[in-house]
């Protein structure tokens, strides 16, 4: 790759395998990796697909060089993004300056060299440089969540925590950054870049014209001054808020200026004794305030004399007291408060205007106070009497209510009595009517009673004739009904059971439907264009291959078995021939010296041979073991343990050293 280009329309193109230069042609943000199209060699694929693929490399069958290419895209993308971010912040800070495009491009060059070394072409390059990894992560986080304020150097636990707060699902901790593996890092960066704010999220903050720039600068200035805490005006020694203010405190003296009055004495006083205005004002700064206040007083006093003023205040007070004729503490307080407010307000006036009138005024005030006291006394007395009246009235009310209840009960009782008496009166009147010839009438009455009772009984009997069959009928019907009811109850129960079953079945049906629809959706999700027959063909091929392989394996197995058998027969034959030879030679060995020697040689030959065989077997076993171990080593080697271990030990050493230093420092301090 030669070039990674991020074009104006937001496309990224990698034109060659060697990355030399990254150009950003657009001045708008190309932070959205989702919308960007990445061209790797001639194949087109979008980053989301890439992420999917890199997560499950076996599924998509993406090759390692493709992955590497994706890594490069990621790294370069990241560095480009960092640059954009820096430029943005720069823009914000220097909003008033009209930044030129060329300058920005120059700064890009600088940042690029600072960010990522040219020798780093993919994420595995990141691996060796922990600081770089952490810085990259923290900067990403800073863009996703501005204002986190994480430090770009170690410790990295905060960054890890922020990542998991953002929703990173994998296992993440300081070890991910410190002793990182390529796969983990790739996952983390994929996640972070996915989370980066999209282009549409950010408003365009580029100043377009001079007017816009001016507006922006005004806005920033206002925002700045709004952000500053409020201070009283005298705390502002500079700034526009203090403009047009005098720094002199407003201290005034009551000026005395001669008036056109007829009194001789006063004029005499004015001529002879009264000081001139500048003399009355002791210090120069209070001259203006004094004049202003004198003027204000003259304007707002309505040319009232002091006496008029006092009279007005008194009238005011009198009005209030007449209003406050009702008893109660509140009004008393009110009066007190008015008194308090009127008196001080009058006093300064009096003092202002010389000493002559004070005596008269004092006298008047004293009179007023006496009057007030008298009034208060009066009102208190009134209050007491009213309270007494109230209590009396309440007593009366109580008495009246009890008497009302009493009277009502009496009334009710009497009403009852009246009705009873009236009834009795009627009866008695009737009795008196009949009293004239009592005996006969009594007899008559008795007879009448007799007849009515017999009549009643007769009626009762007649009624019985109707009643009894009706009741019987009712009971019979009732019985029928109850039997029916029980039957119907049974049916109802059955229906209920059936309904329940139906409901259950419906539920089941619904569940099944749901399952079905889910499965249908899944089926739809599955790629439709995949040729089923091709798959099956491939599967069949594979099966055939496997069958062939199995056949071959079987053949090999048969071969080995045959060889084994052969070996066995051979060893058997050897053994037998050896024993035969041994016996033969042993028989001859007693007599023949040569055969004795031969026997000895045979024995050594035999033992040597067996030793050889053993050795051969052992070498076979060791070779097998070696092969096993090599496999294990291979598997271990892929885990990248060595480097990590080295780094851990190095870190451990460093830590030990540091702790030693610290303890030494501590000892020094304590000693």
């Amino acid at each position: 790759m030669d070039n990674l280009q991020i074009n104006g329309n937001g496309t990224v193109a990698i034109t060659d395998s060697k990355v030399k230069n990254v150009q950003i042609l657009s001045r708008s943000h190309i932070l959205s990796i989702h919308t960007a199209e990445v061209h790797v060699q001639t194949n087109e694929f979008n980053p989301t697909g890439m992420i999917l693929n890199s997560k499950n490399p076996t599924l998509g069958g993406i090759q390692s060089d493709r992955l590497a290419a994706a890594d490069i895209v990621l790294t370069k993308f990241y560095s480009a993004m960092i640059r954009m971010n820096k430029k943005n912040s720069k823009n914000a800070n220097k909003a008033t300056e009209n930044e030129k495009t060329m300058e920005a491009d120059e700064s890009f060059q600088i940042f690029r060299h600072n960010d990522i070394g040219e020798n780093i072409t993919n994420l595995s390059g990141f691996n060796t440089n922990t600081e770089l990894v952490v810085e990259a992560t923290v900067k990403c986080l800073d863009i996703i969540k501005p204002g986190l304020g994480l430090s770009t150097v170690l410790p990295v636990n905060m960054a890890a925590r922020s990542c998991s707060e953002l929703g990173y699902k994998g296992d993440i901790g300081y070890q991910t950054f410190l002793y990182s593996s390529e796969g983990d890092l790739r996952k983390v960066f994929m996640f972070l870049i996915e989370k980066l704010p999209k282009e549409s999220d950010k408003p365009l903050s580029e100043p377009v014209s001079n007017v816009a720039l001016l507006e922006k600068s005004i806005a920033t200035a206002i925002a700045q001054s709004l952000a500053a805490p409020w201070l009283p005006h005298y705390c502002h020694t500079k700034g526009f808020r203090n403009r047009g203010r005098a720094r002199i405190p407003y201290k005034f003296v009551n000026l005395e200026i001669p008036k056109m009055e007829s009194k001789e004495e006063y004029q005499d006083y004015c001529i002879h004794y009264m000081q001139s205005v500048p003399e009355q004002v002791q210090n120069e700064p209070s001259f203006l305030p004094s004049l202003i206040s004198y003027n204000a007083r003259a304007l707002h006093s309505h040319s009232m004399s002091i006496l008029d003023q006092i009279n007005w205040l008194n009238k005011q007070y009198c009005d209030k007291t007449t209003e406050a004729n009702m008893p109660g503490d509140v009004n008393v307080l009110n009066r007190d408060s008015t008194k308090n407010t009127t008196l001080p307000s009058t006093q300064p006036q009096i003092k202002d205007n010389g000493t002559r009138e004070t005596k008269i005024v004092d006298q008047k005030i004293l009179d007023k106070m006496e009057k007030q006291d008298l009034q208060i006394e009066k009102i208190k007395v009134e209050c007491d009497s009213l309270r007494n009246d109230m209590e009396k009235l309440q007593d009366v009310i109580k008495n009246l209510t009890t008497s009302v209840t009493q009277v009502t009960t009496n009334y009710q009782n009497e009403e009852k009595e009246l009705t009873i008496n009236e009834e009795q009166k009627k009866i008695k009147a009737r009795i008196y009517d009949l009293f004239q010839d009592g005996e006969e009438n009594i007899k008559k009455l008795e007879a009448a009673i007799e007849t009515t009772t017999s009549k009643l009984i007769n009626l009762g009997n007649q009624w019985e004739k109707h009643r009894v069959p009706l009741i019987q009928k009712y009971r019979q019907e009732r019985e029928k009904h109850s039997t029916k009811a029980s039957a119907s109850q049974k049916k109802l129960d059955d229906i209920k059971l059936l309904k329940e079953k139906e409901r259950e079945l419906q539920e089941e049906c619904r569940n099944k439907d749901q399952q079905y629809s889910q499965l249908v959706i899944e089926v739809q999700k599955l790629p439709k264009e995949v040729n089923r027959s091709a798959y099956t063909q491939r599967i069949l091929e594979i099966i055939n291959n496997i069958r062939k392989q199995r056949d071959e394996i079987n053949k090999v197995l048969v071969d080995t078995r045959e060889i084994q058998k052969e070996i066995n027969t051979l060893t058997g034959r050897l053994e037998r021939s050896f024993t035969v030879a041994d016996e033969l030679i042993f028989r001859d060995a007693r007599t023949n010296e040569a055969s004795r020697k031969a026997y000895k040689l045979l024995a050594t030959l035999h033992s040597d041979c067996s030793e050889l065989v053993n050795l051969v077997e052992e070498t076979g076993a060791t070779i097998r073991e070696i092969r096993d171990l090599e496999e294990q080593i291979d598997s271990e080697a892929t885990k990248n343990v060595g480097a990590n271990l080295e780094r851990i030990t190095a870190d451990l050493k460093q830590m030990k050293q540091e702790t030693a230093e610290l303890t030494a420092q501590l000892q020094n301090k304590t000693s």
Binding site: N399, T402, S403, Q406, G460, E464, Y474, R475, R478, E479
Partner: protein
Amino acid sequence: MAPLTDLLSCSIIEKDSNGDILWTWSYPIVSESQKAVVARKCNLEVEHNSPQVFVFSRYKYNWFYIHCSEVFDSDKLPKVKQFALVLFAKDFNPRKYEVLSRVLSKMYCKTGKPTEILQLYLSVFTKGSCSTQENGTFVSDDFNSHCFIISTNVREMIKTFELETILIYTALLLKKRIIVYHHSLEQLLKWIGIFPLLMKHRKVTDNLFPWIDLIDDELAELKGLSHYIAGCRNSSISSRTDLFDLLVNIPAREITVASHAKESLTMTKTHKEIALFMIQLSENQSYIESQIISEINDKTQDLLNQLKSLAVVQGPDGRKMVSAQTLKEKNLPPAVEHFLINLAVAENLLLL
């Protein structure tokens, strides 16, 4: 023989083999509201007949007496398992009506004919007596002369509540609202009969409700009265403090004074005296029941005479009345003064 004109009606409620409860017969008339109350109280709805055979209570100003009977195969009542004979009457006399209802029930059992009952009823109503061949005769006048209406036991009451009996006495005297609780209906009806005897000088039975249920219409009737004595089987009555000033819990031997009535039921020296007097009465074995009742009554009369001696003011109807002013002038202790005023109000002797 005076005719028993206090009788209002007679009716029969039958419970048949279907489990239905039917008002099969009545004379002369029973209103629907009366039916509702009686149906609630007659106990026929319970599967097994309750041991309580005779029940009495009141509805508005009338009393009703229910006599339940089991029907046996020998009786001439086919398909009927139980029946209740209900009598409505103007007066409160449980013993009299118990006998009468028993006579009538037996007759009905034997003949199975309501006309026989009608005959007996009319004979009692017109002549004051009736006679049957097997069940003897009933004469209403026999019961009128008796000084106690139901077999009562004031002695037992005093022994049960000891000194606290005075609370019942005072509450009765001052016309307070009293609720008597007992879970057993039989016991409740037995105990409720004792209360009127403590106040013989008044017609306490006018405000006696032997058995109420916590049902709205019955409670509404109670609430319409300023004072009453009501029996209740429902233990949740104890929480209804709006219904009573004094709760007498018989099985627990407990008397509860509602917090709002505590002030008016303050005990004075007089109360202590009467309480001790009652206990002495109950401990003295030589006294019979009627003597105890009359002794208590005498004591009450003494108390009332004392009050009447204070009555110096002429009332509007010419009677001597007690005025609150005179009581105040006596400078009595506040508790005593309060009690006397309340008593005068209860006796309708207070003039304001």
